[in-house]
Symmetry: C2
Subunit: 202 residues, 2 copies
């Protein structure tokens, strides 16, 4: 397909496609003359991934590049490629989280039997710090309830992943995770609104 | 307290506090001479709320104002005040979601017994559309699993809310909900990373 169809099918404007090409986030098409190139369905998938990372996750181009390096490194075993792309979803907090929250996260991981995954754990500790700072601390009971719910959701997410091919698995780990986060957020708000109406009226 | 202490305790820079005063998002302090005013702990709480709405939720000043109107309307019964503030958390999607996703959300609400809450439901349908558009559709089974997990989390969130005072209940509904959303997101990523490592290695 030409650039115009690539733009239409991916929903990314032509000027943005050209920008991603210049930045090396999208591989060049197959040259067809001096100024035109052919693109394929792999380019459409890659553009959707880059767009979700930029627009849904709000990642900088530097972080998008780190995700794509893990996705594209064929030397990595599947688990490492998926893990490397997935871990890059969580930002490194600007400041180290408090010892208190770091300890709470480590204790939780031990209670529920999760192996320590440093980047997500650090981001979680920073999120707990933000709740403390706002005068809305999360109790240990609620944290445990959240963790059990998160484990249930993750179990459903992983179903069928081991039969996916490599590209599909990494894209699913990154794009599927990012795009389903708002779904979880809105479902919880719906459940809260329903419960609040029953309890408080109105 | 003076403006400088208000700024320190809320973590909001003085220039931003003055901006919120001009925009009417923060009530004036008690005048103490021509150019100074006293502020109280209510001002600290309000600043934390406004900051979370702007910085965590990324709301426009117009949407922040809509939340505060519901929080401050003393004529509303508690349930309506909380509900009005809570519903304003979800944006109206720029375009109406598809009939297909709207129908899926309505069917889900019926299956799990949630009363229809239009704004969150519309936002959820738009989030499902985004997954479809990216080639990462969410199956009905996963949607049901997510909804059950969301109901469990919401149950823990509502515990104890009915014994809170009015201001605390609305602030909790808005600020507590927003700030705990990243906690849920990072917990799920940790659970996914743990499961993926077990299943795929790496």
């Amino acid at each position: 397909m030409w650039m115009s169809e690539l733009s239409r099918r991916s929903g990314v404007p032509v000027a943005t496609v050209k920008f991603y090409l210049r930045e090396g986030l999208l591989a060049p098409g197959e040259a067809a003359g001096a100024t035109r190139a052919h693109y394929n369905v792999g380019h459409v998938d890659r553009l959707r991934l880059v767009r979700a990372l930029v627009e849904v996750a709000g990642m900088s181009l530097e972080r998008v590049r780190a995700v794509l390096v893990a996705v594209d490194d064929d030397r990595l075993p599947l688990g490492e490629a998926v893990g490397g792309a997935h871990v890059a979803l969580s930002p490194e907090p600007a400041n180290a989280p408090s010892e208190h929250s770091t300890r709470r996260v480590a204790d939780l991981a031990e209670r529920v039997g999760w192996s320590a995954e440093a980047r997500h754990a650090t981001a979680l500790a920073a999120a707990l710090d933000a709740m403390d700072a706002a005068g809305q601390p999360l109790s240990d009971d609620r944290l445990d309830t959240y963790a059990r719910a998160a484990a249930t959701v993750a179990g459903a997410d992983l179903e069928g992943m081991d039969v996916m091919g490599r590209d599909n698995a990494t894209t699913y780990a990154v794009l599927g995770t990012l795009l389903s986060e708002p779904v979880l957020v809105y479902l919880r708000r719906m459940a809260q609104a329903d419960l609040a109406q029953r309890r408080l009226g109105g």
